[in-house]
Symmetry: D2
Subunit: 306 residues, 4 copies
């Protein structure tokens, strides 16, 4: 017990807001490092806790292993010293995840966001996932954050697996993008004695997640409305719930539009409207149709953001 | 605009906590009105806003149309005058729902909880559902509450349908049992100018729902831990969020156990532990296995309730 | 073993094709018995094994218990003596199903089609379903056919439950509308020693079902293209698989259109095109949109039926 | 029309049975090329049309890009000249798929099996998938086979996309692992004029697929019961449907066990029983539990194979 408590005390503090940054591409679909730098400079003026590099919005499944590491390196060069670089190192196999985690730590990642492997989802029960994450965390030079994103993976990291993994000294938290708020509350209840930290995986349920004990969020919408998402977090932390609620309302539709509804192409389009480089996605992701584009715009303008 | 505002002002206030009461049966599976009365007397001492008769936990699909009306009559006899009787009058066809609504209003229902028809769920789009609810609300002598419970119906009442229906003067609110907290917040945002009221359909996300603007809850767990669910609601209404959070945590596992996990048989078993008559369910619902029963008990005891 | 073999020998032969007849309504949504009679007379000229009254296409969830029995009575009056009247008697509760089964048998049903109860689908495991069907079959005066239709119920009757139930002397077969052909073959393999008979629940996989050992079909499309569905069955039974295949192809799109795609309103519309009374559905089922109507027509005309 | 007919004539004939071979690993989870060679030698005595290298059963998501190519090279060295090497070259991005396709063709692949990209499944509509496959097929030096495997990808390649893609001169067929037999029949109906060829993705519905016009199968079970799967195919091709049916029955349970039920670990275990090298999977895939192992054995022994 003493051990776990002292472990809890030593855990990396990951509380706060992170944009899971998009990866800009040139028209020929190469990584556009210059435009990436431009975005990073603008983000450095916002009160983020850090950046997530290669969450689902970073099109990481479309990057080569080399590109994934290279992007981390590039971000590290620009990131303010007091911000965290949380790098997505998840691969399907345990061995590839271990290797990628090592490479990203070497490239400057402060901690790692490790998505559930999912291709053989029928076999990814608690036993398999606990085994996977334990091996990854055992070997990782930097702390690990679990990452459950059922909309992409078709798999929800089971609560019993999270509880057991929260006892690992090198696993510091969870990014939960599923949004089941009872589940989020249950995870907080069952893991807080370990100093385990839960991050909301979306701005759509950020306030509710704070209400039940989450300590931050990795929010696609923060790529676009970064200050506003940070403001919402601050209102929650300060207990100004009535103001928080009003702000939360205005973020739900834009958030849904750039995530579940229209996806990364919409996120990148919206970034253009707000002064960032978004641009094209890698194929097979397609640009929005004209009708979808108009709907996307309405979701921002009707809430007063455009 | 004036019209809708004055409509809003006149709406029945449904804010607060309701247990969706269970229907006790004798060993031969007849409705046990005496045991029902006993439960109602105990509930009358708790600070409920009212009772829901024939929500999903009342085994209403297992009652004959005559029994459904009879149970409403019986509840009306015992219910304190200042409490609301919200009766579940939903049937698959519009005409049967209209008839049942009329009969329940005649039997003393103060308002009606109308579940989405669902057998032909592939055809139950917004057009069909708006048409259904409009006809029901047009003809109903008492106000109507929409009811979306996808775990049972396989159907989530679409947000655009809710928004349009919120403008009907005789539709006063929604019970949302799906628990998607972003959706609940969005519904509140889009309907509050109409005075439309959202009730959480479960104690598992009650605090989060209050945080984003819900005004109450219809909570199976309130059949068992009625005072505690009311306490949680009161803490939320008073803005005592830190205390609310601690209480919310302790209700999640018991709530899941008596709803999604083990269902109505578990709810009725837990009622026995807390001094109410639960008893058998109508077939084909089966009693819990011994292993499930033990697990159920752990969910209450490990949270300090047994 | 001897017992079950002799039971097998005595089982009612249900092999062949059945249209699950639609229920015609007047413009005011009352049952239109005259138009029902008209349809029945036309059907009596086709080589059906019998009629299914109140399958999913009969809008049975929209009929009152009294109407359900009355429709069975009416059909019995017109049905040729050598055809079977298979009546859908499934209700949510076991006791209601037992009562309805008795009433339908009294009204002239030769056998009963009993859909899985489904509202509490999370609790409808093999134990509950075996218990339900056993009680129903024990008390039924006429043989019982199991009915699994996951598109409507969200529930697939488990194979282990089917296998166990196939040993009941009063359960003679299964209508499987899920269409998982491996599952259908497995059920045939595991139950044929009992003389258990499997009927395909749709014309879309009728030939494949015959190929793996089914003995007939309850096909919505047979309400419209009755002769053709019977022809397909006959080709399969005769082992003329190449001809069967060509006919099967031409039935797939029309079948999907009147079932999964556009549902009962499309079935009733198509009936009008082919000389039957279809007409309106009961609310909340809505008429097809103009666009859907055009698509529906194309599905028939492009396959040479219109 | 002439163009497409001549294209049809020139298409590579892919009809027949393929095992999607497993990838043996050493205890330290490296590719075990020696054991792979041993398996290949045994397979060379069976009447396969060819081998699929890196279908879902090959654990391809767990191989590095280099390993994927290396395994193809190794297989090519052992493969009999008259057999086809169908290599799985699908990646999430179009550009990676194009590159992998080129490398595998260079390594000796006769044709390519290209799985649907799926991580951003919400955006993988027909437009995106047609675009993806067209680019891949345009640039591929060898013919392309579409691959839809919803159990792993959560995505069913839409029929309208298949129909359009069937017109591409370098796309010769589809492996459909979803098993919806109406859909398979519809695809055959709509594409056969192009000479497009459909392969069943599983031995569980192989006979039914042949019945509706498929020309072969890629069957995990063929890794274990290769001769029997080929026998089943031959019986179907010869029109000996009654014998085919009896053999099909006996393959369903073993097939389900090594695919949907227990997955690749079960396939590899069963291979050991039948004289092949199976061995461990790469982590996070875990060995079967003792209970699962016993169940697996029963599925083979109760059907007369062990």
């Amino acid at each position: 017990r003493n051990t776990s408590q002292s472990a809890a005390k030593k855990r990396l503090d990951i509380s706060g807001i992170y944009p899971p940054i998009a990866t800009p591409f040139t028209q020929s679909e190469d990584v556009d490092y210059q435009r990436l730098d431009d975005n990073l400079k603008k983000y450095s003026n916002l009160p983020f806790r850090g950046l997530v590099v290669q969450g689902s919005n970073g099109e990481y499944p479309y990057l080569t292993p080399e590109e994934r590491v290279q992007v981390v390196k590039r971000v590290k060069q620009t990131l303010p010293e007091d911000q965290l670089l949380m790098a997505g190192s998840g691969c399907e196999s345990t061995r590839a995840t271990i290797q990628m985690s090592q490479q990203m730590a070497d490239a400057g990642a402060d901690c790692l966001l490790v998505v559930t492997p999912c291709f053989y989802r029928g076999r990814m029960d608690s036993r398999a996932l606990i085994n996977h994450y334990t091996k990854v965390a055992d070997s990782s030079p930097v702390p690990v954050v679990l990452y459950s994103v059922p909309a992409n993976t078709g798999l929800d990291l089971p609560v019993d697996a999270i509880i057991q993994l929260s006892q690992h000294p090198n696993i510091v938290g969870l990014k939960d993008s599923g949004g089941d708020i009872s589940r989020i509350a249950l995870v907080v209840q069952k893991t807080r004695s370990q100093g385990f930290q839960v991050l909301a995986g979306s701005a759509g349920f950020l306030m509710a997640a704070y209400a039940v004990g989450a300590v931050g969020g990795v929010c696609a919408l923060a790529n676009v409305l970064g200050q506003q998402v940070c403001d919402l977090a601050q209102l929650c932390v300060s207990g100004r719930w009535d103001e928080a609620r009003e702000l939360q309302y205005r973020l739900i539709e834009p958030n849904t539009a750039v995530t579940r509804q229209y996806g990364v192409p919409a996120l990148k389009q919206a970034m253009e409207w707000f002064g960032y480089h978004g641009g094209v996605c890698r194929s097979p992701l397609q640009p929005l149709s004209k009708a979808d584009l108009e709907q996307l715009q309405v979701k921002f303008s009707s809430n007063g953001w455009l």
